[in-house]
Amino acid sequence: MKLTLWTYEGPPHVGAMRVVTGMRGVHYVLHAPQGDTYADLLFTMIERRSERPPVTYTSFQARDLGGDTAELFKTAAREASERFKPDALVVGASCTAELIQDDPGGLAEALGLSIPVIALELPAYQKKEHWGAAETLYRLVRGCVEHARVPANLERNREGRAPRCNILGPCGLGYRHRDDVTEISRLLQRLGIEISVVAPFGASPADLARLPEADFNVVLYPEIAETAAAWLEKTYRQPRTKIVPIGVGATQDFVREVAAMAGVDPTPALAPEASRLPWYSHSVDSTYLTGKRVFIFGDASHAMAAARIAKEEMGFDVVGLGTYSREFARPMRELATSLGIEALITDDYLEVEERVAELHPDLVLGTQMERHIAKRLGVPCSVISAPVHVQDFPARFAPQMGYEGANVIFDSWVQPLMMGLEEHLLNMFKEDFEFHPDAPASHLGAPTSAAEARSTDFRVTDAQNAAPMGASADSVAVLKESEVALIEKESTASALNGQVSWANDAEKELGRIPFFVRGKARRNTENYARERGIAIISVETLYEAKAHLSR
């Protein structure tokens, strides 16, 4: 038994639902008790789908357990195939039905339906949502291909036609899948590559049967499509892509990878102006992003891609990196090691929270869970991965993949931080008597009680000098609060260490250091003092440490 407050992934049958809900012409009969229908609302509410997921639940009750739950399943399967007339039927059990061992596969087989019946075995007490999705896609692909009797020695004559690929992985309730497919399709078309089938997203069982006809497979979401793509590669000699095109560098690598598989020239999709991210990152306003400390957590593909973007394309320091996808623990660990940190592989929300609190990063890039953690800790955050919430399905076009995805990522990562010029100006004038952080906005008239409450701050300003000032004071006040929180946290941390403390004048001097490097300065100085056995940090120690570390 494991004590769990929040979970990153649902059970494996929810993964199966994500695959079938993404498709057309498939119906899923799930042997499950009343209550498991909650999963429908993930699709109708979070993703705002206008149709119910194509799932029939048997809704067995306690009084059925002594009787014939198998008969209940058969009735549900028969009625669902009559009512929905699917081209393929998927059958399986949720966690409770797994325990009563009714064998949905065998029962559905016994109905003698004319359509392919795909039986899923999803061990709910071992596996989770992504595994369930991957297994379901694999079983569906295999079932449909075998039902259509596609020969293993299928000839793919490449003469006189454009190269052809499938896109695998996008499904229901996927983080930005809808827009990623659009963006990557455009990219492939620019290279002159035809897209044969996109699956599961929008595919029918007949489309799945056509998968072997393509020359290669583009795996957009390895968590979902890797198993199916590996089987297709083994059975039909279809190579599969390994690079997930999130970020400018990864997109370029991806372009080269698919161009090589397709035998085409990659140049049309490598134009330097394809994304605005590189120039935005080089422009002077972004200087302040340098060395921002980021904590990254999510599914493995998105988190690993984010780490590369953070380091190479934003100039951040990746101070924490991890995933809840244990299936991808190995590559994640390797990447973390190459960044000089240790990967956090866990599905325990409390452990992640603890790590974030311990690292106090400048920015958290995570899932909806980390958004809540960051909110509680007062750290800016941007969502990069599932689990998702309704706001992760924006009305506008907002891919994560490809060049447009890189633009979206730049904006959404920078947005929770402050713009560089703004930060710089606020800092430059922060000791100006009319421009201190607690000055209320002049257009609001007399000082507000909130501003008065804040003006007790001793580090930076003199409350006597408080005077109304320009319009920027609002944003200054906001800045002030986060600053106070940061400093309070830091003081607590050093007090707990109990080894070094700060003299008043040194503390005051520290307050003069721009806040975005202040945390770093504090830690560096404390480490310096600790190494030298200095118990009380003076102004002298502060500058000694600065000189020492800037060598």
Partner: protein, 419 residues
């Protein structure tokens, strides 16, 4: 109001049920009882369900969690009881402020016959008096949505202390209500001359709630059949009444208490006259909007019948089908008698057939769960999410118009949108 109970035929169905299980009640129960913790012993599905139902409540440090059963527990490699003890110890070490711990059974724990009542007893002997440990089942194979609250309160009734037998009659209001509503009702009762009212569940588990033969209780919610049965078994007497939805329902509910305590009818009427007038005034514009509009209820919380009565009698809405997961004919006797005879009642569910009937009856408003709402909206039907009726303050005079507004808003929105 004295028509025979069975004047309305009830359609009983079996099939797919598009409803939550009883675990969902944890979402509001843990907010109500502020020193209680709910530990579900179940699967990842259970954890995922509560998390999905709780939505934004993730912002709060939750007082609920799931002990997820894994294959080691199932294979017998780990003694489930030892595992449970370990998890509970870990939990209470983290949250020493917890005074009442519910072990909540789920579908998997019921199917593998994990005896949580014995586990609760064992843990209670270790943890008491710092923490009391109780257990109930919120499993989907036994409970539908609000029945989870019934099961929770029912597990609590046997440990309520005995009321001293020689005291005067006391009033107990049963069913969790928002604090603000409790306070309003408390003032109403005081004005009527019933000064001592206890609410069950209490806001803190350490508050004393006595029960005995001098206890008279009013149900605030229509889904508390087992809780009521156990209270009656301890000598308490249920005061039959309409449920306190709408001005009429609230007045009747208060009057029933007054009558039971021997308070003159004129005193009761006088005591609630101002609030009653206020409620009626606030309801009037909604009646203009909703009069003659057809409403269809999918089964969800067991609030359907009292709400249908309110919509029909106080707002003039036309009832098509009113579905309920479970129909308690005794507790709902007054409600059923107040329904128009042409209504179609249904109990249980076969969701596909019910959707067919709903489309055929072309209602102006469909009251349904979150899994059905957007699909109906996309077909052009206005919907009201039923879960909001459980989470929002809707009882009593002061909330009568808020309750009406919940039904009017989807229609108003449709009128506004010109796209």
């Amino acid at each position: 109001m004295n028509a025979p109970l069975s004047h309305i035929p009830v359609l009983r169905e079996r099939g797919q049920r598009e409803v939550f299980c009883g675990l969902t009640g944890i979402v509001w129960l843990h907010r109500k009882v502020q020193d209680a913790f709910f530990l579900v012993v179940g699967s990842r599905t259970c954890a995922h369900l509560i998390q999905s139902a709780a939505g934004v409540m993730i912002f709060a440090e939750p007082r609920f969690a799931t002990a997820i059963i894994d294959e080691r527990d199932l294979a017998g490699l780990a003694d489930a009881n030892d595992e449970l003890d370990r998890v509970v110890t870990q939990l209470l070490a983290r949250r020493p402020d917890i005074r009442l711990l519910f072990l909540v059974g789920s579908c998997p724990s019921e199917v593998i016959k994990l005896d949580l009542s014995r586990a609760a007893e064992r843990l209670n002997t270790q943890m008491w008096p710092q923490t009391r440990v109780l257990n109930y089942s919120g499993s989907g194979i036994e409970t539908t949505f609000t029945q989870g609250e019934d099961a929770c309160l029912a597990s609590w009734v046997p440990v309520l202390p005995d009321a001293p037998s020689n005291t005067a009659a006391e009033l107990m209001v049963v069913g969790s209500l928002p604090d603000i509503v409790e306070d309003q009702l408390r003032r109403q009762f005081a004005a009527m001359g019933i000064p001592k009212v206890v609410f069950f569940p209490p806001r803190r588990s350490t508050e004393t709630v006595h029960v005995g033969s001098n206890t008279r209780f009013l149900l605030a919610q229509p889904f508390l059949s087992e809780t009521a049965r156990l209270l009656e078994a301890r000598g308490a007497q249920r005061i039959p009444a309409l449920f306190p939805f709408g001005a009429e329902g609230t007045a009747a509910w208060l009057a029933a208490a007054g009558k039971s305590f021997g308070i003159a009818e004129s005193v009761c009427i006088e005591a609630s006259a101002a609030a009653m007038r206020r409620a009626q005034r606030a309801l009037a514009p909604f009646k203009e909007e909703l009069q003659g509009k057809k409403v269809f209820f999918f089964p969800d919380s067991q609030l359907e019948i009292p709400l249908a009565r309110f919509l029909s009698r106080e707002l003039g809405m036309v009832l098509t089908e009113v579905g309920t997961p479970y129909l308690h004919k005794t507790h709902l006797a007054e409600e059923l008698a107040a329904l128009p005879s042409e209504v179609q009642l249904s109990e249980g569910q076969d969701v596909e057939r019910q959707i067919d009937r709903c489309r055929a009856s072309q209602p102006d408003l469909v009251v349904c769960g979150l899994g059905l709402a957007n699909p109906f909206e996309s077909e052009g039907m206005a919907t009201k999410w039923s879960i909001e009726l459980v989470f929002s303050p809707v009882h009593g005079f002061e909330q009568a118009a808020d309750l009406a507004e919940l039904f009017a808003r989807p229609l108003r929105r449709r009128q506004r949108l010109k796209i």
